[in-house]
Symmetry: C2
Subunit: 195 residues, 2 copies
């Protein structure tokens, strides 16, 4: 397998930042489709792929989402070209005959609420990680947020479905002038060991 | 922000596969350190960075892990050069004065068990996504697995700590001859919409 060069690593990890302010520059629908058609290839347990996405882009949809996020996040959602609501389908296992056709994987989950919950949450979050890095790979900046009223977002955007909100993430072209200073990270030896 | 070229996208997403068989080729400790020092820059909520990792590499450590994974995963762990145990520190918020020093973020979590649990699980899983893609970016193949006895892995590897296991992931150089056929993914319109 080939490796990425330093410029690509910089785009994904070293120079990428969580953005709070956005340039007045739209994001094409075609790019949102390309984002999903990239991130979807990342691995999930039994290919369960529980992530469901609503890309909030119109003024009407933003007006529904803004009051449901924490006050400190409202201006970010209002000014971002797009804010994605990343949800998890709690009935993801009903899709396994299609997604994992070579065995009866549906039976591993059906009726086992604790395994359903943890699998949906773990794997939709993994897919959230793929989402953020795929967006950066395609030239977008991200502003992920977990400060919102999940019950209200569920009711407003996923009502009548089996989907629950995991987190939300603004997308666009960030304004570097509005970045905060970068927070420190752990050193390897503080949180890892080789045994 | 610059974009990645097709070769880099292929390495991360389009051509990368979950591996089940491994070449007899070791993984240097320096590369494991570089892996962490890359993935750690991915964003987490309030920079909480709950991921903790044990890289199981020695024969002695493999002998402790192999019996705790499902039968179908035992040969994979036995033959992989390294299997990482990705854990989440349920006391992650005690590190926030260091990781998020500009405000009292510790108080957002302390005593609120449900927020602690969901934040640790969501963000360590996000970091798991960064782990997989950073490993691929650095030329490694991955074999993530959630089929193991979590209580036993917790007791054996994280006993006496506040860390719980999230999932495990073998690392190395995959044997393409042992790949399964690739499973299908959703089309955009099946699971996404632009509103």
């Amino acid at each position: 397998m080939s490796t990425l060069d330093q410029a690509a690593l910089d785009t994904l990890f070293f120079n990428a930042r969580t953005h709070n302010g956005w340039q007045d520059r739209p994001v094409d629908d075609a790019l949102l489709k390309r984002l999903f058609d990239t991130l979807k290839w990342g691995p999930t347990s039994a290919n369960c792929s529980p992530l469901r996405i609503q890309f909030v882009k119109s003024d009407a949809a933003k007006a529904r989402l803004v009051p449901l996020v924490m006050q400190g996040n409202q201006e970010k959602v209002r000014t971002a070209p797009v804010t994605a609501i990343l949800g998890m389908d709690m009935a993801f296992y009903e899709q396994l005959p299609k997604l994992f056709p070579h065995t009866d994987a549906r039976s591993w989950f059906a009726g086992n609420e604790e395994v359903i919950r943890s699998t949906a949450f773990r794997n939709s979050s993994l897919q959230g990680g793929y989402f953020i890095l795929a967006a950066r790979a395609l030239g977008l900046d991200c502003g992920p947020m977990s400060g919102f009223d999940a019950a209200k977002v569920d009711a407003e955007f996923w009502g009548g479905t089996t989907v629950k909100t995991n987190f939300v993430c603004s997308l666009g072209y960030g304004d570097p002038a509005k970045l905060f200073g970068r927070s420190p990270r752990f050193e390897f030896d503080e949180v890892c060991k080789i045994v």
